[in-house]
């Protein structure tokens, strides 16, 4: 297990390095730079000379490898640079937004789990019956309805029509419900189907049949035998979802005024705020790699067979 962790950490460094080169060059290839936005040319009297001056101050006219090298030098000193737009250090900017994204992620996961687990189990217990049909319809809706529309509809009914929940903002529990639901529902749909498939698969396994034959109680079979095995594919996808959730959910963030990492990244991309984009890519890179590591580690706990099989080769 330690070997795996070590291997993954080495991988992380390589992945982040390649990722940073890749985004840096893509970013610089894209037309435009942040100069006009920094100078606020839409309101302030700005001349071409001002632009040229600022461009050279920011080092934009230097060769790409030098610009990248300078950024890398900063990174080695654990300095991600300063945002052109807000003037804040990129690290502070990200840490200001990370708790918001984490809160949204946790909320969405709670909603996801509380819908998908009962729904998945019910539809696996009664394949083809009404719980299964409901779960199928939910999955279809969840997968096909765009989240901005679903979010708007939630606001329309709960904030405007029924007036029981606030439409936007964050900080209180009530303000967490709608965004969590908007984000968690579409996930729940997918996971309920995954769980159903996993459970159906494990119900037909020999050891379940054997457990039944031994007279083990049905709920015990479900929770301790079938569920555990069914979780494997779910956890795999879960790792991917977690990575993307922690990267921020732009649409939901904008809709509900939750300024998390997603809207930060989109703003940074539009205004060509290079240090913020780079910092964001590194941060999400870390999330994805670490989440995958956790997923791999969880396999050991869920299925001891994997441990035995891999330990020899790893």
């Amino acid at each position: 297990m330690l070997g795996l962790v070590r291997k993954r950490l080495v991988q992380l460094v390589i992945v982040l390095f390649l990722l940073s080169i890749f985004t840096f060059s893509l970013m610089k290839l894209a037309p435009g730079d942040p100069v006009m936005a920094i100078l606020n040319a839409d309101e302030m009297m700005v001349t071409e000379a001002d632009q040229v001056k600022l461009r050279s101050e920011l080092g934009f006219n230097q060769p790409l490898y030098i610009q990248y090298g300078q950024w890398m030098l900063g990174l080695i000193k654990l300095d991600l640079g300063t945002s052109y737009m807000s003037g804040k250090p990129v690290w502070n900017e990200m840490m200001e937004r990370l708790p918001i994204t984490v809160q949204l992620t946790v909320g969405a996961l709670l909603v996801m789990v509380s819908i998908s687990v009962p729904l998945g189990i019910l539809s696996a217990r009664y394949p083809g019956k009404w719980p299964d049909q409901i779960s199928r319809i939910c999955a279809l809706i969840g997968a096909s309805v765009p989240s901005f529309w679903f979010g708007l509809m939630l606001i329309y009914f709960f904030a405007f029509k029924l007036q029981i929940l606030p439409s936007t903002g964050m900080g209180t529990f009530s303000q967490t419900i709608l965004p969590s639901f908007a984000l968690g529902f579409s996930l729940a749909a997918v996971y309920a189907r995954l769980l159903r498939a996993g459970l159906l698969g494990s119900f037909s396994e020999d050891y379940i049949q054997a457990a039944r034959a031994r007279g083990v109680k049905e709920w015990r079979i479900l929770w301790f035998h079938a569920f555990r095995a069914a979780l494997l594919p779910v956890i795999t996808v879960f790792g991917l979802s977690m990575g993307s959730l922690l990267g921020g959910a732009v649409v939901i963030e904008i809709l509900f005024s939750w300024p998390g990492l997603g809207s930060m990244a989109v703003d940074a991309i539009f205004s060509r705020d290079y240090p913020v984009i780079q910092g964001y890519v590194l941060l999400t890179g870390v999330f994805v790699v670490v989440m995958n590591l956790f997923v791999d580690l969880s396999y050991y706990l869920l299925d001891p067979r994997i441990k035995q099989g891999k330990e020899g080769t790893a």
Binding site: A41, D42, T168, E218
Partner: protein, 522 residues
């Protein structure tokens, strides 16, 4: 089977329990928000939603502090966009280089410190240090403070200085407070002279302000105000309809009908300072002939843009500046005239071919029109223009780009572009004339260079007499119209949704002064 049923039952109970829990949570919150709603009436609180979010409250790089009533500037604009005194009660100059500003004697900052010229000087120095482009627009050589007198010397004769001191970026703050609080804390809670002071600020989410009891002018009418930021127009409209917000900026035109039906709400549609227009690339041979530009100018259906695209919340344009401004011109708005446009094209040597397309020397008349999505009405204007031009045998190919400024300045092969600018910020036309028409202007992507116009702009830059400036600005507008370097389409209105409980308040064109001491609730 019995155990089987049991587990399902258990699950159902679990699910039901969860739902009850959520419902309970909702209803508990309901009573909570109801209680808050009642309190709002008693406490005289106002909630507004703005469309642009604020990462900090630095008054020298953002407009939110002035909008929230936290900071004030030396000079301000009145409702007719004329410059008047604010923290400076009067100002005078004899040569447009040395300016004497008399700072009001009765003003204190929100922390109790008295405002004097030394403090104003320190604040202006900070603003120039912090803001990348402010130094260039203030052109200050030196400042001298003596009691309530501030002497500003500019680098060159600079009659536009008062107009530049209206700029919210020159907001006056107490630098001593910044030193005490630390830079970072000050950026989130600046100490100004305004009727409201910062109570709580959450970056990119909201700012709460409470009234400043020691405000130098009349006592603020409300106790507290909250400004929230939300970038989604539909959500803003719904928040107004659910009465969560009292004032909502930049409503979507399509959401207006529902709001108008609600008797507790009203729509304020005020003429703004912005212009939507079509830009011609002076470097493109396709539009170098003025007859062609004249023809295109007649193919822009301004009335339809105002009525159908902007749903009546825009005024058809007759020049660069909103016609209701002091320096707006009163020329007639050009009407869609396909026949006349065709005639002009024929005069320019084009003939209709068998397919009805205008053609010269075997080449059909075809333009590339650049548009962008950041202002959703611009692509629609482009489409309308395209369809009307087709009726005159002119082909327009629309190209959507992400960043128009970059595309237009880095490419030279485009012919036309839809564009939008605040053409008269701070109640003066010289910003737009200098940045969009002179050779060195940052917004002159069409490479406009008209000697006659340059001369006028230079003259305007050194003229201080207000009437003369108005006259010169009008003359410049006339040259722009004559040369047709831009085709002005509409002046979009500012759309603000207002709850009827708000009184003593109306949105203003420049969008600087929003939470004021006169803002009140019923």
């Amino acid at each position: 089977m019995k155990t089987n049923m049991f587990s399902v039952k258990k699950l159902l109970i679990l699910a039901l329990g969860l739902m009850i829990l959520i419902a309970a949570g909702c209803s508990a919150e309901k009573s909570h928000s109801d209680a808050k709603g009642e309190k709002t009436e008693d406490d005289k609180k106002v909630t507004m939603i703005f469309s642009f979010k604020s990462p900090n409250l630095d008054p020298h790089t953002g407009f939110t502090p002035i909008r929230a009533g936290v900071t004030e500037t030396l000079l301000k604009l009145d409702e007719h966009s004329n410059i008047e005194g604010w923290l400076a009660e009067k100002w005078e100059t004899t040569d447009n280089v040395t300016w004497e500003f008399t700072i009001r004697d009765d003003v204190t900052f929100q922390d109790g410190a008295k405002l004097d010229a030394t403090k104003v000087k320190a604040s202006i120095e900070r603003s120039i240090a912090v803001n990348e482009s402010l130094g260039g627009s203030l052109k200050i050589q030196s400042m001298k403070a003596d009691g309530q007198k501030l002497i500003i010397t500019t680098i060159e004769p600079y009659p536009a200085l008062p107009s530049e001191l209206v700029n919210p970026y020159t907001s006056i703050v107490n630098i001593a407070a910044e030193k005490e609080m630390g830079e970072e804390a000050f950026r989130n809670a600046p100490v100004g002279t305004g009727p409201f002071q910062v109570k709580k600020f959450t970056p990119n989410q909201e700012v709460q302000v409470i009234k400043n009891d020691n405000y130098w002018a009349d006592k603020p009418k409300i106790n507290e105000a909250t400004i929230k930021f939300n970038e989604d127009a539909n959500v803003r409209a719904l928040a107004l309809q659910s009465k969560e917000a009292d004032v909502v900026y930049n409503l979507p035109a399509e959401g207006i009908e529902a709001i108008e039906k609600d008797t507790a709400l009203k729509i304020e549609s005020v003429p703004g300072l912005r212009s939507h227009f079509v830009l011609f690339n002076q470097k493109s041979p396709n539009v170098s002939d003025i007859k062609v530009r004249e023809a295109l100018n007649l193919l822009l259906d301004r009335k339809s843009i105002a009525d159908d695209i902007m749903l009546g919340h825009a005024v058809p344009a007759n020049g660069p500046f909103n016609s209701n401004l002091p320096f707006g011109i009163d020329d007639e708005v050009k009407k869609l005239d396909i026949k006349k446009a065709k005639e002009l094209l024929r005069e320019a040597g084009y003939k209709e071919n068998d397919a009805g397309k205008m053609q010269k020397n075997g080449k059909t008349l075809k333009f590339e029109l650049i548009t962008y999505k950041a202002r959703p009405e611009l692509p629609l204007i482009a489409q309308l223009f395209q369809s009307d031009a087709a009726k005159a045998g002119v082909e327009i190919e629309i190209k959507m780009v992400e960043n128009a400024d970059t595309h237009l300045s880095e490419n030279s092969d485009w012919d036309l572009a839809t564009y939008s600018n605040n053409t008269s910020p701070r109640g003066d036309g010289s910003y737009f004339l200098n940045t969009a028409f002179t050779e060195t202007g940052a917004l002159n992507v069409g490479k406009i260079n008209i000697p006659e116009l340059n001369k006028l702009i230079n003259q305007l830059n050194t003229t201080s007499d207000l009437d003369e400036r108005i006259q010169l600005t009008k003359e410049a507008a006339n040259i722009i119209n004559k040369e047709i370097v831009h085709s002005y389409a509409v002046y979009p209105n500012i759309l603000v949704g207002v709850n009827n409980r708000i009184k003593g308040w109306a949105p203003t064109a420049e969008e600087y002064y929003i939470i004021t001491h006169t803002l009140d609730v019923k």
